[in-house]
């Protein structure tokens, strides 16, 4: 695993998130559930907790949008870049953006939202890309069965190095 230069991280245990624009590919309930599931991968192994809010500014602002979407990194249509996220910090820090030109799914068809969201939230919490092909934080997308999915060891060690381990 790798951390970003300077090891930016959140200095609090409860982190808020807000989804400001949903994808029409899935129901709002499916998106909410999948995003919560992605955060739970991290709260299961660290002392962090995540809370969804529905108004105001959250630590992690989440949106689905195509092409230009308000930052300096426009998306590129279907394929190529699927999503991106900022490292922890004020203002845009931690924000996660998903390319609406992708076909977001909960299966192996299209692009699996759980796997991509969990990867992006890794960035939002301070993980950089890993060179371990079995890691969630490997830069390229590869579908794996998400039934009972847990963080791979490399990512678990990376996030626990930043936030400590939750004793089960």
């Amino acid at each position: 695993f790798r951390h970003f230069n300077g090891k930016p991280k959140w200095d609090k245990k409860t982190i808020t998130y807000r989804i400001t624009e949903y994808t029409p590919d899935l129901s709002q309930r499916e998106v909410d559930g999948t995003i919560a599931q992605a955060f739970k991968l991290y709260s299961d192994v660290t002392l962090l907790d995540f809370q969804q809010i529905y108004g105001g500014t959250a630590d992690i602002m989440i949106l689905f949008k195509a092409r230009n979407h308000g930052d300096f990194y426009p998306f590129d249509g279907q394929g190529g870049v699927l999503a991106h996220a900022m490292s922890p910090g004020p203002n845009d820090g931690g924000d996660a953006h998903f390319d609406e030109d992708e076909k977001w799914t909960l299966s192996s068809a299209g692009v699996n939202l759980l796997l991509v969201a969990a990867h992006e939230f890794g960035h939002a919490l301070g993980l950089d890309h890993s060179q371990d092909p079995s890691a969630l934080m490997y830069p390229t997308y590869k579908y794996v069965n998400t039934q009972g999915y847990q963080l791979p060891l490399d990512d678990k060690q990376g996030i626990q190095a930043l936030y400590g381990a939750r004793k089960s």
Partner: protein
């Protein structure tokens, strides 16, 4: 025949600009990447992905570049 097309070359340059440009890397600003810079940066990319580090745009490297991926740079900055 050339191993790669002009299209592959240009797409590879765009890929390296997007995911492998950092303040300490050789300059890759401008429309085209200098050959020596291209090889240097391509080697970094090949090393990151565990590919054979040749500095050449071979088939395996092009295949990795075509995979869907995260938009965050592989070079921390």
């Amino acid at each position: 025949a050339p191993a790669t097309s002009t299209v592959d070359q240009e797409k590879a340059e765009e890929y390296l600009k997007q995911f492998y440009s950092d303040p300490n890397a050789p300059s890759i600003s401008g429309r085209r990447v200098k050959v020596q810079d291209f090889e240097t940066i391509l080697k970094k990319m090949q090393e990151f992905f565990g590919l054979e580090v040749t500095g050449k745009l071979d088939t395996n490297t092009i295949e990795v570049m075509k995979k869907p991926r995260c938009g965050v740079s592989d070079v921390s900055n």
